[in-house]
């Protein structure tokens, strides 16, 4: 079930009403059933996979928690990792690795003709696998106790607002909220949840989906486009993926707030970042922090000297790229970001304090613009269907090809960019995702009317699924 569908518009109020009509225990079980219904709406065959992942980590984590024998704990953790990564590897990467091996053999003159299994990628598998893995690792590290309540744990894995595209929540944050007695949210909470849902829908339907045709046209045949059209195309993709993914997160957070559960912020106005390190602290925060905690730090982080730090950054970013999709273009995207991060560190501009508060035009505009363009160069590899196509795109950008993009592209791109910029600026400078609620009624009303009209006018066309569903 898509967030931007009428089915969801009917599903959410029904689940909200029934949920709050029940007692605490019933609420958890009901939300679990609703979550499975939400997931099964897409393809019920994969509910068993979700259930299997849940049961494995529930019982393994309990076993880890109940023993102090270190060897046994490690063995149990390894079992969980092998099963979860095995499932992910089978469904997501088997075709990719077989094809890569075939290509390699062919390139050295060896004929190979393996029979491929046709595997459908279950929606959200990368998200819920990482979520449940982090739980088992945290239990192993004794950061949290193992859950003794199967229903609560199953809901932690399958909670419908964030099941298919995150945020990838940590058990230490989400499980206690699921298990706690939740009171009916205040009017302010409900209002802020609804505004977040409206903002998310607007970003998805009126920003991301509007950019999609421009992006498709620009990437369909880059060698036939002018340099300016390619530039507009890549800016449009930057807006599309941001509107799509952060819009999804906003809807997820807003919907979850209606059930008294607060999900983490996954985006902190990333396109206002003043350097690439700041970008990665503000873009898909739940994944980058996951990779930091469960990959970068165990690899040694920055504790083993500069060279090892650069290597670790490259490993983390390449694997982060591969997490997004089973294709070498994603690996290249990750590697490019790894290089950017390493160079930024090498230049000595790295700041461990994270992003530095308010955005000032005079101080930050140029740096933010340069960072945004670096990110856009990398987006070419993320979006292009092949290396050849990505290369054509970059060549077209660099080798000046005269010509103007269609006027309709600019008419759509410029207002979308301005709206995203103003919304992000307001959120950043107030350090508050709910900043709209603090505005005067007239300003708020204008924003709500824009959301509503934007969603109504730009919906009803071909359904464009959320980009991150494929990951």
């Amino acid at each position: 079930m898509l967030f931007n569908s009428l089915q969801f518009a009917l599903f959410l109020p029904v689940v909200f009403a029934v949920h709050w009509a029940l007692r605490q225990r019933g609420r958890t079980v009901f939300l679990l059933v609703a979550s499975y219904l939400f997931y099964g709406w897409w393809d019920p065959r994969f509910l068993s996979l979700l259930g299997f992942s849940t049961l494995i980590d529930y019982f393994v984590a309990k076993a880890i928690d109940s023993t102090t024998v270190e060897r046994r704990r490690k063995l149990l953790l390894a079992t969980s990792m092998i099963v979860q990564l095995g499932i992910l590897g089978f469904f997501k990467y088997s075709g990719f690795f077989v094809q890569s091996a075939v290509d390699l053999l062919t390139s050295i003159g060896v004929e190979a003709n393996p029979s491929f299994l046709r595997i459908v990628l279950p929606v959200g598998i990368s998200f819920y696998t990482f979520q449940t893995m982090s739980y088992t690792i945290d239990v192993f590290r004794r950061r949290i106790p193992a859950s003794r309540d199967l229903f609560s744990f199953a809901l932690f894995v399958s909670y419908f607002p964030q099941l298919v595209a995150g945020p990838i929540e940590r058990a230490g944050r989400l499980l206690p909220q699921i298990q706690a007695h939740r009171n009916f949210p205040s009017g302010e909470k409900i209002a802020s949840g609804l505004v977040l849902i409206g903002l998310g829908l607007f970003k998805k339907v009126a920003i991301a989906d509007v950019m999609a045709p421009i992006v498709n046209a620009a990437f369909a045949n880059p060698s036939s486009q002018s340099s300016l059209a390619l530039l507009v195309g890549i800016y449009a993709f930057a807006l599309q993926i941001y509107g799509d993914f952060s819009g999804y997160t906003d809807i997820a957070r807003g919907a979850s707030r209606l059930f008294g559960i607060e999900l983490m912020r996954n985006f902190e106005q990333p396109y206002l970042s003043r350097n690439i390190t700041e970008f990665w602290r503000t873009w898909h925060v739940s994944l980058s922090s996951w990779l930091h905690d469960y990959l970068y730090v165990p690899l040694g982080g920055n504790r083993k000297g500069p060279r090892r730090t650069y290597l670790n950054l490259m490993i983390v970013m390449v694997l982060g790229g591969l997490w997004h999709g089973a294709a070498w273009t994603f690996v290249a995207w990750g590697a490019l970001h790894g290089i950017f991060l390493a160079v930024h560190r090498m230049l000595g501009h790295y700041s461990p304090r994270g992003f530095q508060g308010k955005f000032s035009f005079r101080r930050d505009a140029l740096r933010a613009f340069l960072t945004f363009n670096l990110v856009c160069i990398a987006w070419v590899f993320f979006r292009a269907p092949s290396f050849e196509s990505a290369w054509d795109y970059l060549i077209g950008l660099v080798v000046l090809r005269l010509g103007l993009p269609p006027i309709s592209w600019l008419v759509l791109l410029v207002p979308a960019a301005v709206m995203v910029f103003l919304l992000d600026l307001a959120q950043r400078n107030a350090d508050d995702h709910d900043v709209i609620l603090t505005w005067r009624p007239v300003a708020q009303g204008l924003v709500y009317a824009t959301f509503l009209l934007g969603v109504v006018v730009f919906s009803g066309g071909p359904t464009i699924p959320f980009i991150y569903f494929q990951f």
Binding site: E188, P406, V411, L437, W439, Q444, L453, G460, G461, P462
Partner: protein
């Protein structure tokens, strides 16, 4: 910091103001609607032309006995003119280029059968039409099913569709959406210029294919192959949503008293080579198609290997003479079965 009560008061006032703004916008659109160019009801000019033809036939009370439905393979490889010349029964070709079974299902049940009143349905199918992983097929379905004409024609399948139909009928904001989201048209209208809506494909000829055959050689060029494998075959898989659509189409047409003939359409060996495992995939396709036809007591005609490569203009579409020949076979089959 403001208190919760203050926030709620502000949000309440803002919400009222927003509703007022939207209402003003709706009223403005209603006033302007008669002076605005009409919203195109159908996704392509091919679909629009076919609907117009069927409406004309209905208005003229010309009974159509047989409707051909399917993708471009049906559009090209079955010839209603040849069919009509063979006897008193009449046929209409409602095949749509780029459609797959999911589009064919809704198109047939919501548009073709109500407009033509056909008593026999010929469903032409290839493995491409049952492919759950095709890109072109999904894009075509999206455009068709979200077009205003299709939304109005459909019988709501769930509460969400019922609500959407209601909104389309009663609110100008919903009715005029296609116009409002097209900046080029809006700019042209605002500047008092000519309406610049683009058409995306040529109009089909009445009762027949929209492509004229001028004796071109068999086309299995690299360009054709690339387009076919990348967009039509893509991540090929059968047995899911597309075959389910065929099932529903046969079930619902049977319930409506319409007899069905399922045709395994002619293709060349080149077509099979585009599939990941040609022998296995085609065998699986034959099995699925025959099984579904049998399940709903539909007549099954296996025409896949009836023609040689000289009869084809490309791996999936017959030349006109061969199309007339296949149509004659169908005519004979219909005569035999309906007496």
């Amino acid at each position: 910091m403001t208190g919760s009560g203050d926030t709620m008061t502000r949000v309440g006032r803002a919400a009222l103001f927003a509703v007022l703004l939207v209402a003003v916008f709706e009223l403005t659109l209603r006033v302007a609607e008669p002076r605005l160019p009409p919203v195109e009801p159908w996704s392509t000019s091919e679909v629009a032309a076919k609907v117009e033809q069927m409406e004309e036939l209905r208005a003229a009370r010309d009974d159509i006995d047989v409707a051909f439905v399917g993708s471009s393979v049906v559009e090209e490889s079955l010839d209603p003119v040849a069919f009509n010349s063979l006897g008193e029964e009449t046929a209409y070709n409602a095949g749509l280029g780029a459609a797959s079974m999911r589009s064919v299902e809704r198109w047939t049940l919501d548009v073709v059968l109500p407009l033509t009143g056909a008593r026999t349905l010929v469903v032409g199918v290839t493995a491409r039409d049952l492919n759950d992983g095709g890109i072109s097929q999904v894009e075509f379905l999206d455009r068709l099913s979200s077009s205003p004409g299709m939304l109005r024609a459909r019988t709501p399948q769930n509460p969400a569709e019922w609500v959407e139909n209601w909104l389309l009928e009663h609110l100008a904001i919903f009715r005029l959406r296609p116009l409002l989201r097209d900046p080029t048209r809006l700019l042209a209208i605002a500047s008092g210029g000519e309406d610049v809506q683009e058409t995306t494909d040529p109009e089909p000829g009445l009762f027949g294919s929209d492509r004229t055959y001028n004796g071109e050689p068999y086309d299995n060029s690299t360009q054709w192959r690339q387009a076919w494998t990348a967009r039509q075959i893509n991540d090929f898989s059968m047995g899911g949503i597309e075959i389910e659509s065929l099932r529903r189409l046969l079930r619902d047409s049977t319930v409506a008293g319409v007899g069905a003939i399922v045709v395994n359409m002619p293709i060349t060996d080149d077509f099979g080579d585009y599939l990941p495992d040609p022998a296995r995939d085609l065998a699986e396709f034959d099995r699925l198609l025959e099984e579904v036809a049998r399940e709903f007591d539909a007549i099954y005609l296996d025409a896949r290997d009836l023609f040689s490569i000289e009869d084809f203009r490309d791996p999936a579409h017959l030349k006109p003479d061969a199309a007339a020949e296949l149509t004659a076979m169908l005519h004979e089959l219909i005569q035999q079965t309906t007496g």
